[in-house]
Symmetry: C2
């Protein structure tokens, strides 16, 4: 299995603090040492850093943890390989272009015998179930909406239907972003926190590092951080119920929909 | 205008030496300070580092110049903006997926009023003439060959026809790779060197750095380096005639075709 980290903000924010804790789980405080990656949206552009080395010892991860790249949407992943060997082509997050925007995707879980029909518009380069699911998602979104990018709310509704379909094949925690907003699916395990004024101190679980967010924010800032496991030990993280798809925009959870049979849990 | 750097090898080789000289041209020894980027193929995977900052002062460029990433195909670019503002989305090289392989493209030049019909299969994210040309190239290659990736030789022939079509719109020096081989078009200015045994010392033009390749190679290694301007001052670089498209594989120039009217210059 793997671990996911996402950030969605209303102003470009650096992720150095959260990434420092997350990075340690890639071979130091945890076992996810089969590669790591992180993608930053900056306007319409994207920076994607990938390394098949453990994040705890990767010189590129070291740079990322110290170099403040300000972004409204970030997706990071540390890998414990299930399907697909250790190698750059199987390292998350994955990138594709659709509707003249970059899309970034990372997955934690395991999809068994998921072999969807792919028409060639998006084709996996590596051998993971994850990249296959990403390609199918984009193919189906494009098939559904045609050549024009719909609203993010319409995307969320379509993604809900597609996520239900894929979830039948197994564990499917994922983060997906087009640079505008961030979609998160808690299949088994995912938590989030929304930070807003009044900002306080936060202390990492995985390293003895504290930041006082009131020193580095303005009162209007809003930042949502999503992670497989809470990254800090002195803040209240919200556990996302297993089987829920979330839509984050401008630093807050805007919508969620159940993706498991049972009572529908909607937030609006 | 911009500057291009490419490398094609028969064994994975690091580009630290060449990149050190190239990097200096991004704001230190030359004026190309509107961003830079470099893409490394490792097997089917790709690492792409992009930064809208000048390469001469970019911490990411500093890391890349010191961190030996071994690759058989590399494309780098330093930018002096013509079309499209300074920004990550307009920073070369660009990446797309076709036939389950990543494709990387960087351009030096200026295409005037180049507004091809794009069917939506590959769409620019930024505003450069360069990304538009890349999207059109991939669209036309896919249209020509369908769903199955052809041989690199067949790709070269198709690319020749497409390059002729685009070249009518202006200066179109480019580097393109699918990870197997590297295509290079000299529209106005591009040089290359093939290094093979017996290896010798090389000294950079832009910084006082010397490397003795005989210390870091085996007798079977072959490395082709392609650059807008020669990077070393004690080696014999070959100027690629204006209006010539080249196909590099396994560290050597295999084929070239004229892309200007006039006597056909073929190498085979």
């Amino acid at each position: 299995m793997c671990q996911l980290l996402g950030m969605n903000c209303n102003v470009p924010t650096d992720i150095c603090f959260s990434f420092t804790g997350f990075q340690a789980r890639g071979g130091a405080t945890d076992v996810h040492s089969d590669g790591w990656g992180i993608a930053f949206f900056e306007g319409r552009g994207t920076r994607l850093f990938l390394d098949p080395q453990p994040s705890s010892t990767s010189p590129i991860a070291e740079l990322v943890s110290r170099y403040p790249i300000r972004s409204k949407n970030v997706i990071a992943h540390i890998r414990k390989a299930t399907q697909g060997a250790i190698g750059l082509e199987n390292t998350h997050p994955f990138i594709r272009e659709l509707w003249g925007r970059y899309w970034i995707f990372a997955h934690n879980g395991n999809l068994l015998e998921f072999a969807p029909g792919l028409d060639g518009s998006f084709r996996p380069v590596g051998l993971t179930d994850s990249e296959r699911a990403f390609c199918w998602l984009l193919q189906e979104l494009r098939g559904h909406f045609g050549d024009e990018q719909p609203s993010d709310e319409a995307l969320f509704e379509a993604l809900h239907v597609l996520t239900l379909a894929i979830s039948r094949y197994g564990e499917f925690n994922f983060l997906l972003s087009n640079g505008n907003c961030l979609f998160a699916h808690a299949s088994t395990r995912l938590s989030y926190i929304e930070r807003r004024a009044p900002f306080r101190q936060a202390h990492l679980k995985d390293q003895d590092v504290t930041v006082d967010f009131s020193d580095v924010t303005t009162p209007d800032d809003r930042v949502a951080v999503i992670a497989t496991q809470p990254l800090t030990d002195n803040e209240q993280w919200e556990e996302m119920p297993p089987g829920s798809l979330w839509y984050f925009a401008e630093g807050e959870a805007v919508l969620s929909r159940a993706t498991l049979p049972g009572p529908v849990r909607n937030k609006s």
